[in-house]
Symmetry: C2
Subunit: 595 residues, 2 copies
């Protein structure tokens, strides 16, 4: 069974040395008091909770799955899930970065992201229960009426109640414009919702006393398509003004999906039978309101794959040091043993370092993005808030798609380190791979992320957001362009930066003539941008590590990982750019009938 050690040292490196968050926080009034000691104390306790309470649940969750009692519509989660959730609530973990006005601790979001990386390493399936609540919290916090906030936010903050997002229907996932669930206005200003939803994660379970569903539906007079969708809050039990639970509402789980992975999380078919709901935000503006939740969720999905990458790496390293098989091609390394540990073999190291580099790069990107979210919320200056928000908008699809594609690769490579044992359930590696696959799909498939990046975030504003990031890259290159010890990293960063500028311009021209060129290039383009961002963040890390490599082996390991990244992973861009440039024709030429 896999074990897990919270990567506190690397988190602290990213937070304190790379991002220097305490300095950043000093400029944010609401976080000005958050210092390094506070951060480290929170990280340590969070790590303990993840490692000790949640990690043991992962295998049992996969084995047992969830069960639905068709008579009562109640779902039972795997053994131990409920008790651990109780400890989560009791420990105040759900409230970590929530608004103090509703009982939250008001800590920065970047800390919450660290918590979630660790929880996802421990068990993605379990972590989805509190994770989705947090999205519902953010959506209601941004768009709810005062009454909705008073009714729901304190309980969502504490975790006594959990939340969901109900978007998908059998005939529509990506294309929410097709959705059919209806909301009929009632005389008292509320609505009655009727319809069917599928793929509702944590749609029903036994962890929390109430479940707060955020449901997309159509008003009777709604225009067709995505401009006619409204958002409603539909609780499982009607809340009373005093916080007590009222009548059972007409929203029920009618079935559970059997899935490739995340068995411990209930993926529910939900039926709404005249369920009572109240409107969130403006009529027909539901998608915009839901996007607050979606953007948070997209960062959250990136954290899921980051967590899986880290835990798969840790276990594969332990196995590679322990398992004896063959001698090193360059001569025996453990002559006293019957064979060498497999970590001596170059290709085993390639597998391990792939996961390690993706974990370290992913962590840097995830925290960088989370800090932007803190800045977008809490900077005093509107211009700074805006710039942070714009940069985050650019990076969000990259966090979601790049980290989850990398997570799929990394977990599979780590499985490979185990040879045949990797394929056997008891070692736990194959579960990480199965769990990782959903992350490329939900909260907008990675293709949708790529279209969002290239079509909307880059070409859609004529490259303005891209220029914000480009200026940061250029600034770094100018700062370190004469630093000889960083040339091996700065030069390829500069080279890739130039190539991305050229590629973006070229795609912009092509897209002007044929919109299919966007769809044809988007996925490759996103991965190129992912590597550009990783290269930038690795240079930021390398300049610290070069300076301190004499002090501590941590920095030497960091440098070795970064060198591996530049030698073995960054060259993917040579393929991606060629593919992106080869255009739509090779994809669109074949007649549909010939497939």
């Amino acid at each position: 069974m896999p074990t897990y050690t919270p990567p506190l040292r690397d988190m602290q490196f990213v937070l304190h040395e790379m991002l220097q968050v305490a300095d950043v926080f000093k400029a944010l009034p609401r976080h000005a008091d958050v210092d390094a000691d506070t951060i480290n104390a929170v990280l340590e306790e969070a790590g303990k909770f993840a490692a000790e309470v949640v990690t043991p649940l992962n295998a049992v969750g996969d084995r047992e799955g969830c069960t639905l009692d068709k008579a009562t519509h109640e779902v039972r989660t795997p053994t131990g899930f409920k008790a651990a959730y109780g400890q989560f609530v009791a420990g105040g973990w759900g409230a970590l970065s929530c608004d103090p006005e509703y009982g939250g601790q008001g800590l920065p979001i970047v800390l919450n992201q660290c918590l979630y990386e660790m929880l996802n390493s421990a068990s993605q399936a379990w972590t989805m229960y509190p994770g989705l609540s947090h999205g519902a919290y953010e959506c209601l916090h941004a768009h709810g009426t005062d009454e909705q906030k008073q009714l729901y936010l304190p309980k969502l903050t504490s975790g006594e109640w959990s939340g969901t997002m109900c978007l998908t229907e059998p005939h529509c996932g990506t294309d929410l414009g097709l959705l059919r669930t209806k909301a009929e206005p009632q005389a008292d200003g509320s609505y009655r919702l009727t319809g069917q939803k599928i793929f509702i994660s944590a749609g029903e379970h036994d962890l929390a006393a109430n479940i707060v569903h955020l449901v997309l539906a159509r008003l009777p007079d709604a225009p067709p398509g995505s401009k006619g969708i409204s958002l409603f809050v539909v609780p499982k039990f009607m809340p009373q003004a005093d916080g007590a639970l009222g009548a059972r509402n007409g929203i029920f789980c009618s079935g559970l999906e059997h899935k490739m992975g995340i068995h411990g999380n209930a993926t529910c078919q939900m039926v709404l039978e005249g369920a009572h709901g109240t409107l969130v935000g403006q009529p027909n503006q539901g998608l915009q309101a839901m996007f607050v939740m979606m953007n948070a969720a997209r960062l959250g999905v990136g954290m899921q794959s980051l967590g899986l990458t880290e835990v798969a790496y840790q276990n594969a390293v332990a196995y590679a040091k322990d398992r004896l098989q063959m001698r090193a091609l360059s001569g025996p390394k453990a002559p006293d043993k019957p064979a060498d540990p497999i970590i001596v073999h170059p290709d085993v190291r390639r597998m391990l370092l792939t996961a390690r580099a993706y974990a370290e790069g992913g962590r840097a990107l995830a925290m960088y993005s989370a800090l932007l979210l803190d800045q977008a919320h809490a900077c005093e200056d509107e211009g700074e808030r805006h710039e942070a928000a714009e940069l985050l908008a650019l990076l969000t699809p990259i966090v979601k798609a790049f980290l989850t594609d990398n997570g799929w690769t990394a977990t599979s490579e780590c499985l490979g380190v185990y040879g045949g044992h990797g394929y056997i359930a008891e070692w736990g590696m194959e579960q990480f791979v199965r769990d990782a696959r959903i992350n490329m799909i939900y909260e907008g498939t990675n293709t949708i992320q790529a279209l969002d990046l290239l079509g909307r975030k880059v070409l859609g504003d004529n490259g303005k957001r891209m220029k914000i990031f480009g200026a940061k890259v250029r600034e770094l290159i100018e700062q370190e362009g004469v630093n000889e010890s960083l040339q091996e990293f700065v030069n390829p960063l500069a080279d890739l930066g130039d190539k991305v500028v050229k590629l973006t311009t070229e795609l912009g021209f092509k897209a002007f003539q044929n919109r299919d060129e966007v769809g044809a290039a988007a996925v490759d383009y996103l991965r190129v941008c992912g590597h550009l961002v990783f290269a930038y963040l690795f240079v930021l890390q390398a300049r610290i590590a070069v300076r301190k490599q004499g002090e501590d082996a941590f920095y030497r390991a960091k440098l070795a990982t970064i060198r591996f990244y530049f030698a073995k992973l960054l060259p993917e861009t040579a393929m991606l750019i060629r593919r992106a440039r080869s255009g739509a024709q090779p994809l669109m030429a074949m007649d549909e009938a010939l497939f």
Copy 2:
């Protein structure tokens, strides 16, 4: 639930048009009568058997798995497996390419490979039962004594008995030199075997009356390591001279593995408790004898992933034509419907065409290799037999590793076409992905294949085998170098050929100084060679398709697929060559303790 239509047209294209097998067979005395009509009739019947009898078993096999009765050591296979196996035996399918002396039909191996592609599309887990028998048949046919052949080959040919290969032990998989199972000589010339084996596919089951285990073990006086391993045949029931079953032998299934996929195939822990066996081949030469079986098995594993790629593609295409979601970026394509079928979207086409190109390239390579095997067995001229065998030795690790890596990519892309539904068991796509993962591991991990290719097959003979293939590539380039309509394919083939020559030379020099350079470059090198072979085979196909594109849409689809391959998949070589050239240092620099 997935459906399956045997790709007879593409098989016939490869056999009759690309390989012109009937002409090749005319030069092989034992196959001189095998004409196109015979081939097509066999393919058609084989396709019916696969599609109608085996396809329905795949989902049930995954759901039910196998069960072990610990008291009797008997294994029950999933519902329907046994009946289908009975039909397989009754239809004579196991005997297709077996020696007529033992009741076989004596048809070419390339036909048997087509049968196995289709069976694997239908159900890899089921197909492993007869597939492993065939390996045991080949091993005994090549290395058995006359008595062993008379005892075992007729029943293995008919399929009344099945076979296994028992290599792996808990502490050794790749490194068979470490194995511990003991064989004690008996007064009657037989042996008693004692030990433990793991990961024995089809080690115990209820399909056949007897199971013939080929077991690697050590004689008491054996030298240590891989030079002290002998091969034994150890039947479940002792066979009598008249073919009847005698006493139960001391080889038992003691446990079944719970695995990521291929649930329908029993992966057994086997205990040998003084099991009676007889020696196959020479003492201490067991690995060489086993390699006959291993090489056949490696081609067989390639067929498994080819089969999965094809069936995943077929189903993803059907879904992509049926599923309505979003409008094409270039404007509505099905304005009468609420949305366009997703096959209009460029990235959905990229996913589909990736699988299609890998299926068509993989089929061409697999059949090309199988025909070499026929030639290596049946050419009259020794020089021709030798050349075919040498080329096949070069291609075998490529078939195994390239086709299985591609199968993993392709099945995952096809899952992606389904969006969230791809993650749900009832659609069957996630099973293809889970099943595909083992193919990269067993019968020698893909890393081992890569080391075999670069270390042994290429550098080990100073490039002699590579030159045989290089001459074929050059010949094709010379033939078609002036054919304008093929320039788009011939030029990149020639370019890649040059690059492979340079890369091989460079790696040879580096390996001379540091053997770790072989391990560092091997995996990337194998994929570069895989693309070179695919590019060569696609040019062979393109020159037919260009000529006939006016006749039949099949050829236009073939050309479109080949153009996609050259535009979108071949550019991977740009990455691979860079990575291969970046050497061992970025992998070996990090101290083991720092991982």
